[in-house]
Amino acid sequence: MSELCNDTDFRKALEALDDLQQRQVAALFVQHVLALSGDKRLERVLKTAAEADATQEELASALKSAHAVTFDNHARCGAEGNWSDQAGYFVARAAVAATTPVTQARAGGPAWQAAMSARMAYTSSLIEDASNRSAHAECEWQYQALSDYLNV
């Protein structure tokens, strides 16, 4: 397996995964940023997403739960925006992506969408952060995680 070091290849590799792999890789990505969300419901959602034997009903229920978390966490129009809270919103979005069936997923598939939302969550957490941590750290981690998953 060659070293993945750019988004074009990364995305291609993700899209080439089968349905179960998409779900499990997506769950990996979300798990990595889970700490940015305070919502306990997402832990259960991720458990289901990572589970190879999860049934359709369990996944549908997890998806519903993840959706509910996004509704509770999105910024209200006109309210003072809080980027730390927004990080939680994007973690929930990533969880939604992870539990969305492949046929209904947005462009790129569940794993790619989860990766993007997870990165957004990380970026959001940095916005109010004075330190100089680079947003790129998250994609580096994602590349490595996918590599490890495929090489196992």
């Binding site: 988004d7 074009t8 519903k64 959706h67 509910a68 509704f71 999105h74 910024a75 209200r76 129009c77 006109g78 309210a79 003072e80 925006g81 980027w83 927004q86 919103y89 947005r106 462009a107 993007m116 990165r119 957004m120 970026t123 959001s124 940095l126 916005i127 947003a135 994609c139």
Partner: protein
């Protein structure tokens, strides 16, 4: 009389022109406006009759601008206007109205009641009677540049993310281009995919465009709270940036009131015609479609319906364009009842969603939209306003309805031809 009440009364007076006078002179108390307003139809509370919401302005018009009213005032017969009265009306003017304008379409004598309520807000705000949430949003808009406190570095971070996701460069502060894109704080915070979608569409169409780091905010809280001076300050920022970059057209994004503010109110607020055009993103995409520069490769198979955002459709004039665009990407597009200029409001615009006190009524009036959706039974709802989108999602979740909300711009981008 308190200082704020005096300011309020003066503000009310400044709002009275020949249109206001013609409207108040013609009202015959027929009550048809109530049946057009979702805040009445879903609550059954006659206080929420649209024309009733304008009572503060009416009292000023009567007692200051009509002979019979002035005589009445001299004789001590006119109805009083004091802080208590205005406070009582706050909930009607702000919590129970989105300025959707459906009442203005049905009044048999032709009253533009939504305009009258908008004008009523000017007096209410000057008298210190605007809801807390809106005051906060407006203060942030003026001091920080965004009602939600979104600053340029935050948008920059979003832009970087979008560039990674798409592989495209987002042009910032580029001069002499065709378009300058504005964004609403809601889109920046909740739907960064919108920026991606625009970038992809413009890239394929070969359009030159930019975002300005000095004026990227589209939302105009001044319009929602009803303080024209503040609305003017917010518009002027955009004008200055657009003039500086010498762009031909400013694009208003998927946000309802932003369009009204910049397209129709803007030049009147700042007192000067613009040197550039203003178009809604839907109008721009429809132009691209007409020019053959918007090529669609795949289609949506889900049964789609379109929710008309009030400020874009009925009050904005962008009614046919979204339909042309949806028809490009769908063979399964079904209109809901009352679609088009008579569509029902989602219930969250005009500052209602920024006002926590109005949360309960906002969810209650969603039942009107629910009734429309129950009739058409779509697989997905397409719209072009982030606030409508969030509120509809809220409402659908509340009523356990599993219908996804799609942004029209994002949907088009998803089905773009790769060449």
């Amino acid at each position: 009389m308190s200082a704020s009440l005096e300011k309020g009364i003066n503000a009310f007076k400044r709002q009275v022109d020949s249109t206001v006078a013609a409207f108040f002179s013609s009202c015959v108390h027929c009550g048809l406006c109530a049946e057009a307003c979702l805040f009445y139809t879903e609550t059954g509370d006659p206080k929420r009759t649209p024309i009733n919401k304008t009572e503060p302005l009416r009292r000023i018009w009567k007692s200051e601008f009509t002979l019979v009213g002035r005589v009445g005032k001299m004789l001590g017969l006119s109805k009083k206007i004091d802080d208590e009265f205005l406070e009582e009306w706050q909930e009607l003017v702000y919590d129970s109205c989105t300025l959707c304008g459906r009442c203005s379409m049905v009044c048999p004598v032709g009253n533009d009641i939504a305009l009258m309520i908008r004008k009523t807000r000017e007096g209410m705000a000057a008298a210190g009677q605007a809801p807390e949430g809106l005051v906060g949003a407006t203060t942030r808009a003026v001091t920080i540049g965004s009602p939600m406190g979104v600053k340029w570095p935050a948008l920059q971070a979003q832009i970087k993310h979008v560039e990674e996701d798409t592989g495209l460069k987002i042009p910032v502060d580029v001069e002499d281009v065709e378009y300058m894109l504005l964004l609403s704080s809601m889109e920046i915070m909740n739907f960064p995919e919108f920026i991606e979608a625009v970038a992809k569409i413009f890239d394929k169409a070969g359009t030159t465009w930019t975002i300005s780091s000095e004026a990227f905010e589209a939302t105009n809280s001044g319009i929602q709270i009803g303080v024209s001076d503040i609305a003017a300050v917010l518009v002027q920022r955009i004008v200055d940036a657009a003039d500086k970059l010498r762009v031909k057209t400013v694009i208003s994004p998927e946000c309802g009131h932003a369009y009204t503010a910049i397209r129709w109110d803007g030049p009147n607020l700042v007192g000067k015609a613009f040197n550039f055009k203003v178009r809604h993103i839907l109008e721009v995409m429809d132009d691209l479609r007409k020019d053959g520069r918007l090529k669609i490769a795949t289609k949506e198979t889900r049964k789609l319906t379109y929710h008309d955002p009030c400020q874009i459709s009925r009050r904005g004039g962008v009614i046919q364009e979204p339909r042309n665009l949806i028809n490009m990407v769908s063979d399964n597009f079904v209109e809901m009842p009352d679609a088009g200029k008579m569509n029902w409001c989602c219930g969250a615009g005009g500052g209602v969603s920024a006002n926590e006190r109005a949360d309960e009524i906002r969810l209650k009036v969603f039942e009107r939209k629910k009734a429309q959706l129950d009739e058409v039974k779509p697989d997905a709802i397409v719209s072009a306003c982030s606030n409508c989108r969030i509120h509809l999602e809220d409402g659908l979740e509340e009523y356990n309805m599993d219908i996804p909300l799609l942004s029209l711009t994002e949907t088009l981008a998803e089905h773009l031809a790769e060449d």
